[in-house]
């Protein structure tokens, strides 16, 4: 690896982020049936690799926007876990004060500018963030997280065109998990046509990577981000990955017929965390004992965050009317 030195500094952050995302999401899945997290909730279990690899490569002054499936992105950008869980529980201490729920996360203190629930909604907004960065001649970048489904919205093409036109410092992170709800790609996009070919055609340089191979993700991301920071315009990276559980909610749904148990198991076998742990162990970069210790610490932090969310007060409706305008 060309930037091995950097990577060695970053491996712990990556591992922590992987554990943080996985264990928080598993914690949500486990508790969701209690009926206290009363909002549509889209989990990122299985898709931790890309956000975790990205985590150490972004500065706190970089910005990011995301989608309905945003927990992992928010956490990878450094968003406060307590405030995220409290939001999902609808509490006053939630990052959006209980107004938005799981699909509307924000942590301005770390540059996470917002996730929204309408597919494609934040794509041009992320490009707009980058426009401001460019006009102010910053070296910061804006990250736009999208799914494979969001590529089908007209607004993606309009925003990508503008980003290319103005050579804006945008990184499009496309997590292609093969599905939009229960619809496989083959029902939505021409078979055999690559998303990256379309984006290349718009005039944006693209790359692809195995989203479940954290090391590969890290390499590709760090290269592309470097280029964006050098003022060489927007970049688009398509990562292949897979969500393990149902589109929305805590359960497994391989039995309902839109995909097979075999497909799921094949992807599960390629899961990002175990692969990364193996890699660290193989190269003797970290011992399994140290990894277990890190995970234990993360779990303590997560338990405390759930505790915080549970005991926090519910917001009162009094202030709603006063916060419609700024």
């Amino acid at each position: 690896m060309s930037d091995l030195k950097h990577f060695l500094q970053h491996q712990k952050t990556i591992l922590e982020t992987l554990y943080l995302i996985r264990d928080i999401e598993e914690g949500i899945a486990e508790r969701y049936p209690q009926g206290k997290m009363r909002c549509p909730t889209h989990l990122s279990i299985g898709q931790e690799g890309v956000p975790a690899a990205l985590a150490p490569l972004l500065k706190i002054t970089d910005l990011a926007v995301s989608t309905h499936r945003a927990h992992a992105h928010y956490l990878a950008k450094g968003g406060c876990p307590k405030a995220m869980l409290a939001e999902i529980y609808g509490k006053a201490t939630g990052c959006s004060g209980g107004r938005g729920g799981s699909m509307h996360l924000i942590d301005e203190s770390v540059g996470f500018k917002g996730s929204t629930a309408i597919v494609g909604n934040t794509i041009p907004i992320g490009v707009g963030l980058a426009l401001a960065q460019k006009i102010r001649q910053e070296t910061n970048i804006s990250v736009v997280f999208v799914g494979d489904g969001a590529i089908e919205e007209g607004v993606f093409y309009e925003a990508a065109n503008f980003a290319a036109l103005k050579q804006l410092p945008v990184l499009f992170v496309c997590e292609n998990n093969l599905y939009s709800v229960y619809a496989p790609l083959s029902k939505r996009q021409p078979v055999g046509r690559k998303i990256t070919d379309v984006v290349n055609g718009i005039g944006i340089n693209t790359a692809i990577a195995d989203g479940n191979n954290v090391v590969e993700c890290y390499q590709v991301l760090s290269e592309q981000i470097q280029q964006i920071r050098e003022g060489r315009g927007p970049r688009f990276i398509e990562f292949s990955t897979y969500r393990w559980r149902e589109h929305c909610g805590p359960n497994y749904d391989n039995h309902i017929g839109y995909r097979t148990e075999e497909e799921y198991l094949a992807w599960k076998a390629k899961e990002p965390i175990a692969r990364f742990e193996q890699w660290l162990a193989d190269y003797q970069l970290m011992s399994p004992t140290d990894m277990a210790k890190i995970r234990q610490q993360i779990r303590h932090k997560i338990n405390a965050a759930f505790e915080f969310a549970e005991v926090s007060e519910f917001p009162s409706a009094d202030k709603l009317a006063n916060t419609i305008y700024g």
């Binding site: 729920g101 597919v119 409706a317 419609i324």
Partner: protein, 358 residues
């Protein structure tokens, strides 16, 4: 009188009635096509598109997440002989398609001097509860009603769901057909002798002291309110609008001329609402006959929040409707009895069967 949820012959749900209407329309007319996100997936848009793709594999399909483009595609298909029915699992998702709907579909017939028509039906499902929040629960029927050239249907009963959807598909104009998610599991029956027609409100219950005008899910609450009031010898006439563009003014005027009082209830935000329009129109037309100022109850001009606590008192239901009518009529009913109208259990689900998340 219309057969509402309470008494039923052949019991089916609202969602099943929608499914029946789609099926029958497709059998009767092979120019009907049916598409939308999830139209042929395992869950079939809350079962409303069940069995369709098996019957007509070419005419039923899922679509790319491209609401604006796919609306225009539907308009083009409609201009060229098809009768598309496009469905969105949330009304909010369809907001991406306002250009095609408003600038094309709604205008085509008028703008080209009546040379062609756009027979497209757009089914929109309104969400509520379980933290649907700011962008999954918007009751924007008034928006669509504001556009000349669109018909806007917003049914409550199972019978109306069936007949009005079938007629919407037969109609030569663009129709926005709005289904409240909380109606999907309501039970009722289809009465083949009682065909509801587009543009006609239903007098759900006759009464003498006040006209209550309602629509969609709120009519379920209104029925509870009226039944309660009847037990206390208060006679309310209940009108279910069914269509909010055009509005059936004769039915409203006839009723208000009789009862001389009107309360309009509306699940949309107050400003610019259908309820505001009805209050205005009734005031202009019947002012000197009214015994009380026309009144309305609508949602506050606030986006819907997500949190359980923030939505708790956000909606109004049978209890609040009864209280408002008591004030308007200047009557007293034992408050503990009025309180019994409060919904038992969680406020944010249509029934205990609902376990989230969507």
């Amino acid at each position: 009188m219309v057969n509402y949820m309470t008494d039923s012959i052949a019991e089916i749900t609202f969602a099943q009635a929608i499914n029946r209407a789609l099926k029958d329309a497709m059998v009767e007319d092979d120019s009907v096509i049916c598409y939308g996100l999830g139209a042929d997936d395992p869950l079939r848009i809350f079962s409303t598109t069940k069995d369709l793709v098996e019957l007509y594999p070419e005419r039923v399909f899922d679509m790319p997440t491209s609401e604006n483009g796919m609306t225009g595609v539907g308009i083009g298909a409609a201009l060229n002989g098809l009768r598309p029915v496009m469905t969105h699992q949330r009304l909010d998702f369809f907001l991406l398609a306002m250009d095609q709907l408003v600038n094309a579909a709604a205008k085509w017939h008028f703008m080209f001097d009546a040379k062609s028509t756009v027979p497209i039906v757009i089914r929109l499902i309104i969400g509520r509860g379980w933290g649907q929040g700011p962008t999954h629960s918007q009751h924007l029927h008034a928006w669509f009603a504001h556009i000349p050239g669109l018909k806007v249907i917003i049914p409550t009963s199972v019978n109306d769901a069936y007949h009005l959807l079938k007629q919407s598909i037969k109609d030569n104009n663009p129709v926005v057909f709005i289904e409240h998610r909380w109606l999907h599991n309501q039970k009722g029956s289809i009465d083949t002798n009682h065909k509801s027609t587009l543009s006609q409100a239903a007098v759900v219950k006759q009464g003498t002291e006040l006209t209550l005008v309602s629509s969609s899910y709120l009519t379920v609450e209104a029925i509870r309110a009226c039944e309660f009031l009847e037990q206390h010898d208060v006679s309310v006439e209940l009108i279910d609008l069914r269509t909010v563009n055009p509005i059936d003014w004769p039915t409203i005027y006839t009723s208000v001329a009789k009862t001389k009082r009107v309360l309009v209830i509306d699940a949309g935000a107050r400003t610019g609402s259908i309820s505001g329009e009805i209050v205005a129109q009734v005031s202009e037309m019947l002012f000197d006959q009214l015994l009380a100022a026309p009144a309305r109850m609508a949602m506050p001009d606030i986006p819907e929040p997500t949190s359980y606590s923030l939505t708790k008192d956000f909606y109004f239901g049978a209890k609040e409707i009864v209280e408002k009518i008591m004030t308007m009529l200047g009557i007293d009913i034992d408050p503990t009895q009025v309180d019994s109208l409060n919904v038992q259990g969680h406020h944010d689900i249509p029934g205990e069967y609902f376990k989230g998340p969507f």
